[in-house]
Amino acid sequence: MSHDEVKDRAQLKDEFKDLREKLRGALPALGQPELRRDLWPEMLRRLEQPPVRVPWFDWVLLGVASAVAIFFPALIPALLYHL
């Protein structure tokens, strides 16, 4: 490696260092790096929640709506228009 190359590399290193310091100065430090509360208990609570139970009459309603859509397909565009 020649003397000029070593000099260029050292100059580049200084420029990077300078740029890094400028960026650090421009961005304010995070005031609160730690979370205010522990999120894990909430996550556990969420995991332990029972899955959504759909009552039988909602299945019946869904069946009725699907059956009507099959027997009267002309209704589908009108339904999409109102959704």
Binding site: A65, L75, L80, H82, L83
Partner: protein
Amino acid sequence: MNKHPLLRAYLAGIAVPTVFLLVIMTVYTMVRYVYNLPVPIERVIVFPMAFVPNLWGLWNVLHAAFLAPRRVPLGIFGCVLPLLLAPLGYGVARLLDFPIPIHELNLAPIGVLVGMIVYYLAWKYLVSSLNVELGIA
């Protein structure tokens, strides 16, 4: 997360029809420009694009502001919305000279009932879960 509950209710309300809008726009584009259906759907597309999502949002705001404290079920309140939307949609279509096939009009009572069922399920399960996520319910 206890700030602006009505704004959050509005956002939760518009989310579901906004997602459905993607489906509607895809179907619209396919039918109109791929299959060249000679029906000027673009005249009335403003209704599902603007009216419906905003009404869903406002409906959810109304529920959050006045009816949730009185424990009115969201599904029941949501299924009333087609009774408002159906005449509004019909009015917009008539105002913009959109040709409505006569068989569609004959099926309107069944359509409103099916719409109420779909809305009941959408509000009970989709909007309600969004309300829970946003800390409104």
